[in-house]
């Protein structure tokens, strides 16, 4: 981190507040003066995009909750009431539903960035673990949110997933009845899912605060994986990272808006426009796309308990990645073998996602088993071994050196000697003439 705070309140009110509750100082230190490496690329903007998406989901969700009724007799009808009668209800509903998908798209890119650039390595292990906790909370929130419209997929996905807990020996059946509040997914289940769906996002906010705090203690990684050595390596967060984050967020919003306005139901399932019927099972029960890889892993083995353990194991393995990866080199940029295996892993995850939408039989099942084995092989066997046996390519001595080149040729337009301050007069907020 950058050391003591450089905040200097200029107004009387500013000084008055600073003595009593230094929130402006905290904001200044964290988001204006905070130094970030100068060589970050756009994959590093997804943390900011995720924060914006969290706020968007909470805002749209709170307004939707003003019109939604979580009773099995009324839930589907209240959702249609929102779509048809509430002013811009259709917009709120589509923003919230598509927003959930966009949230997961951003989080997968964010996680993959962390895996590629070694963002989980010392001293950022707790930061990474907090992130996996956020991911778990997101999955719980999304699952419960999908149940709320009480369509066919809502009901049957809830039935399938809650039934998984019966796999645990001795206590399984009791746990499931307790979750359901009865003997099957019914009104008590829907009601408590609504309550928890409203609660969990605020728990996510809390963990996000811890996540950003942990980040600000260690500072950002950067594509070279070389730690910050001097002020020359960094720039102030505002305006440099701020403008990049806002630009990336608007680009992300273009994709988001495209789906909301032109393809709102593309990422959903038509069966969810049929009201839930406990007596009619859909031909194929599938979760939303972002759960498909885990759904594939769940069905890879014939044992119910085995499938459940593997599915949770697929996420649990993420918690220990900082210790599985033994390499002293942080970034995949300088790890040629690791880089190739990373992209293979990405391909395997996409394959698992596609297989999750297929029935678990024949060739699909064989492919699912191979892909599942590879997934665990990558984390449990490959990562430790690669660190021991891989020969990394030479790393630059510092971030500045990688940006400037060894003999001082810069990639930027002019003299980089300004360090944390902007060197170009046009961009400098302080120069007057």
């Amino acid at each position: 981190m950058s050391g003591p705070s450089s905040y200097n309140p200029k107004t009387g009110f500013g000084r008055w507040i600073d003595v009593r509750l230094p929130l402006p100082r905290l904001m200044y230190d964290s988001f204006i003066a905070y130094p970030v490496p100068r060589n970050l690329n756009y994959t590093y903007t997804f943390g900011s995009i995720l924060s914006v998406m969290l706020v968007a989901q909470i805002l749209t969700g709170v307004v939707l909750a003003m019109h939604y009724t979580a009773n099995t007799e009324l839930a589907f009808a209240s959702t249609e009431h929102i779509m048809r009668n509430v002013n811009y209800g259709w917009l709120l509903r589509y923003m919230h539903g598509v927003g959930g998908s966009m949230f997961f798209l951003a989080v997968y890119i964010h996680i993959l960035r962390g895996l590629y650039y070694g963002s989980y390595k010392d001293p950022r292990e707790v930061l990474w673990i907090l992130g996996v906790i956020i991911f778990l909370l997101m999955m719980a929130t999304a699952f419960m949110g999908y149940v709320l419209p009480w369509g066919q997929m809502s009901f049957w996905a809830a039935t399938v997933i809650t039934n998984l807990f019966s796999a645990f020996p001795l206590i399984g059946e009791a746990v499931v009845s307790w979750l359901w509040g009865g003997f099957s997914v019914d009104n008590p289940t829907l009601n408590r899912f609504f309550s928890l769906h409203y609660l969990l996002p605020f728990m996510i906010v809390g963990v996000v605060i811890l996540h950003v705090w942990a980040l600000h203690v260690s500072g950002q990684t950067n594509p070279t994986g070389i730690s910050v050595k001097s002020e020359q390596d960094t720039v102030r967060f505002t305006p440099y990272a701020t403008i990049k984050d806002i630009f990336a967020t608007v680009l992300f919003f273009i994709v988001f808006a495209y789906f909301i306005f032109y393809q709102p139901n593309y990422l959903g399932h038509p069966d969810n426009y049929i009201e839930a019927n406990p007596l009619v099972t859909p031909t194929h029960i599938v979760p939303e796309w972002y759960f498909l890889p885990f759904y594939a892993i769940l069905r890879a083995v014939p044992s119910k308990l085995g499938g459940v353990m593997l599915m949770f194991g697929a996420i649990a393995v993420l918690f220990v990645v900082p210790w599985l990866d033994t390499s002293k080199v942080r970034s995949a940029v300088y790890r040629p073998l690791f880089k190739q295996f990373f992209w293979i892993l990405v391909g395997v995850c996409i394959l698992l996602g596609w297989l999750g939408s297929k029935p678990p039989e024949g060739g699909y099942l064989i492919a699912t088993r191979i892909a599942t084995v590879w997934y665990f092989f990558h984390f449990i066997i490959l990562l430790p071994l690669l660190g021991l046996f891989e020969t990394p390519t030479p790393r630059p001595a510092s971030i500045s050196e990688s940006v400037l080149g060894e003999d001082g040729d810069s990639h930027g337009d002019s003299d980089p000697g300004g360090g944390a301050q902007p060197a170009g007069a046009a961009a400098s907020p302080q120069s007057k003439g």
Partner: protein, 281 residues
């Protein structure tokens, strides 16, 4: 971007009756509401309402649509008086009155379309055990698997008309010659039905079944053929409106939003370049 590819891969595998999907015959139509600038044709929706009212509403409810929706913008856009008259043709149960009795009264625009049967059991009893589905959302509740790579292209072509294409194909997909007679099991052969080779519903449409209001006026130029194909197109458009009444507003707002975002992104791009101009990165 790998996650985006993952989204594309996994998202549009409609796993409805996928096994039958390979053999289901789908005839793609051009719909007035498809594409980024799609809109509903008011006249077509009015004809579609007429077909629904005269042919389908005997068995199929439309519980989420109210009479007042018929004069709202972006729909059939009947006049308010026409809607009052349409509604008054129906009797609905209201009450209790001051004596505590339920009574019947003519429907008002604020009422929803009355259902043909009191409950699902009555509906099944009148239809050989088959339940005619509600039509409020049916155009969004049906689709047929598009297969790879078509479902990827669908993102860019904005194909959302899987439901309308399916329902149109179903209505026009009954087997030739046998279309008024059920087979041995009492069902009717249809090569577009996603849940099997035959459907319990008898062919609902036939040529000349509905006399369009606009065919009876003095202007011969706006006369339309009273064929199964025309009826199917009109009623399916009406069903799409019933499922998605705010489609026009959605696409219109989308255009404004996209233009705004593109301009905003452009401004931010140049701002970013300016801010970073002196900085090595």
């Amino acid at each position: 971007m790998a996650a985006l590819a993952s989204a594309l891969f996994a998202a549009a595998f409609f796993t409805g009756p996928a096994l039958a999907a390979a053999e289901v015959v789908i005839k793609h139509q051009s719909w007035t509401f498809s594409g980024p600038f799609g809109t509903y044709d008011n006249q077509q929706l009015q004809r579609g309402y007429q077909v629904y009212r005269e042919v389908c509403s005997g068995c199929h409810s439309m519980n989420y649509v109210a009479f007042r929706n018929l004069y709202e913008k972006g729909g059939p856009e009947f006049s308010e008086d026409e809607v009052k008259a349409l509604a008054a043709q129906f009797e609905v149960i209201d009450g209790p009155n001051e004596d505590g009795d339920m009574f019947e009264r003519p429907a008002r625009p604020s009422d929803r379309f009355p259902a043909p049967f009191a409950n699902a059991a009555a509906a099944k009893a009148s239809n050989n055990g088959a339940l005619p589905p509600d039509f409020s959302l049916i155009a969004k509740a049906r689709a047929v698997s598009r297969g790879f790579p078509t479902f990827v292209f669908d993102i860019f072509t904005q194909y959302q008309e899987g439901g309308p294409d399916y329902i149109y194909s179903l209505l026009t997909g009954y087997a030739e010659g046998s279309d008024t007679e059920p087979n041995d099991e009492g069902v009717y052969a249809n090569h577009s039905f996603i849940a099997g080779k035959a459907i319990a519903m008898a062919p609902p449409l036939s040529d000349g079944l509905v006399t369009y209001a606009q065919n009876g006026d003095e202007d011969p130029d706006n006369d339309l053929p009273e064929t199964v194909d025309q009826y199917a197109k009109d009623v399916v458009s009406f069903l799409m409106w019933a499922a998605e009444p705010h489609l026009e507003a959605r696409k219109a707002m989308g255009l404004k939003v996209m233009i705004f975002l593109f301009i905003f992104a452009g401004l931010l791009f140049y701002s970013k370049k300016k801010v970073w101009a002196g900085i090595a990165h």
